[in-house]
């Protein structure tokens, strides 16, 4: 037995080795548990959305929120009190390490039905229903929903939005008209980050009026450039592009279309959002 002991570590060294091993094991478990808990949301977090849209056929409203990936408190329903007939569908958009980006969608009325609203509606809070606990009113930024207008001067027959946050809308003039102005909602805040082009020319460089005949093509493209670490990247802006025309009889007509955002958050952004308590600087 003495030979056996001679080949192994001495008792103090054994005790030291096992102490170090146990400290590493318990340190790893404790540290990881603490960090995991620190990265959990107390409850689902609705991001601020800024939307100005008309309640026309095929238009849909989108709200983005984050919930813990393995948490038990999940969103089960969303309701706009001012528009209770709007029914939201919840869908998983992107899984992060700790959270999931979720989107709540609601579509407006089918073609031929009565328009859902007759005057503009501004929504700043929605009622959220949870799998645990009572429903709660949650601030969601500002959504302005305008009554659907029947104006259709441009027939937009093709549109595309890419995941690299670029897109286009192609249309044809249905009547002769003069284009007097192009802009987009929230342009005061979004101008540095959203670039709009008419036939590949930046809209800032256009010289109005631009005369268009019936059958003329209209090519509008856009490009989003929001740095991932910019606080603006955590706000879901859904601007509408507005085209202001003057008809031959002098009547002014504005036609608009939604500029697609393809809003998403990376895993890093989700972590940053949670660490900052929902308000990244």
């Amino acid at each position: 037995m003495s030979r056996v002991r001679g080949r192994t570590l001495s008792k103090p060294k054994r005790i030291t080795a096992w102490t170090v091993i146990l400290l590493l094991i318990f340190g790893s478990w404790g540290g990881n548990l603490w960090y995991y808990r620190s990265m959990q949301l107390e409850e689902p977090l609705f991001l601020k959305s800024y939307v100005s849209m008309s309640a026309g056929h095929g238009r849909s409203l989108e709200l983005v929120y984050l919930e813990n990936r393995y948490g038990s408190k999940k969103v089960t329903g969303v309701q706009i009190d001012e528009l209770p007939e709007l029914s939201f569908t919840l869908s998983n958009w992107n899984n992060g390490t700790y959270q999931t980006v979720m989107k709540a969608y609601a579509g407006f009325n089918a073609q031929g039905e009565e328009p859902p609203i007759k005057s503009p509606v501004t929504v700043k809070e929605v009622t959220v229903f949870y799998s645990e606990g009572p429903p709660r009113k949650v601030p969601i930024g500002e959504i302005t929903i305008l009554p659907d207008s029947d104006v259709e001067l441009v027939d937009f027959y093709s549109s595309m939005a890419s995941s690299d946050r670029t897109g286009y809308n192609y249309g044809t003039m249905m009547k002769p008209a003069v284009l007097e102005r192009i802009d987009f909602t929230y342009s005061d805040r979004l101008k540095p980050y959203l670039h709009l082009y008419l036939s590949d020319k930046p809209i800032e460089s256009l010289k109005y009026p631009i005369s268009k005949q019936k059958g003329d093509g209209l090519s509008l493209s856009y490009k989003w450039e929001i740095p991932l670490d910019n606080p603006m990247a955590y706000v879901d802006y859904q601007p509408e592009c507005r085209l202001e025309f003057r008809l031959k009889d002098g009547q002014r007509v504005t036609q608009s279309f939604r500029i697609n955002v393809n809003f998403n958050l990376t895993d890093e952004q989700m972590k940053r959002l949670v660490r900052s308590g929902g308000e990244p600087q």
């Binding site: 037995m1 030979r3 056996v4 080949r7 192994t8 091993i21 590493l24 094991i25 790893s28 478990w29 540290g31 990881n32 548990l33 960090y35 995991y36 990265m39 990936r69 393995y70 948490g71 038990s72 999940k74 899984n95 390490t97 895993d267």
Partner: protein
């Protein structure tokens, strides 16, 4: 009168079978047909018999008693040795399997120490050498697993999907090499005496 004490071959094989129970979890209709606590009972009985003649195994024997108790709740939970149990809504840290793995590693450490001591005593040079190498490998794998596994909570899915199969494979190799040793020791005339 001459009394012949047979070797401990049967007890060593039983020890091997006990570890087979703890190594595999085979579920049929939701029931584990190789429950860990049965394995630890087999191990404890074998160690009881071995330690009557070879006192090197005393510490391992007492550790196996602890493991019978620690593994009992798992037999009722039926979750296997999953340190992290993930489903759609919850990620639970299963502390009992973690404690089980920790004490199991301690048991294997004591057994390795005892096996090396036996090999010295019976001058089984090759077996001692193999046991020492496998013991070191086993401890490195299991201690690394105990340290690394909690990181699965905080790494991305790609990392987890890479780390888990590697850990599982290394652990399986280490356990397999470990339990093969008992059948090699069973072939030697360990514990046999004539008085």
């Amino acid at each position: 009168m001459i009394e012949i004490t047979p070797p401990l071959s049967r007890a060593f094989r039983q020890l091997g079978w006990g570890f087979v129970f703890t190594l595999f979890n085979i579920f049929i209709f939701g029931v584990d047909i190789l429950p860990d606590f049965i394995g630890y009972i087999l191990i404890a009985l074998a160690l009881q018999e071995i330690s009557r003649r070879l006192t090197f195994f005393n510490k391992a024997k007492w550790t196996s008693y602890v493991l019978i108790i620690v593994s009992l709740p798992e037999a009722f939970q039926g979750s296997g040795i999953n340190l992290l149990h993930v489903n759609q809504n919850s990620l639970q840290l299963n502390l009992i399997p973690a404690a089980l793995l920790l004490v199991h590693t301690l048991l294997v450490y004591w057994i390795f120490k005892a096996l090396i001591a036996v090999a010295w005593t019976y001058e089984l040079r090759d077996l001692r050498h193999i046991t020492a190498i496998r013991g070191t490998f086993y401890l490195i794998v299991n201690v690394s697993m105990l340290i690394l596994l909690p990181f699965l909570m905080n790494v991305t899915l790609i990392w987890a999907a890479t780390l888990l199969p590697i850990c599982a494979l290394l652990s399986l190799i280490a356990e397999f090499l470990f339990l093969r040793l008992f059948y090699r020791y069973a072939k030697e005339y360990i514990g046999a005496s004539v008085s």
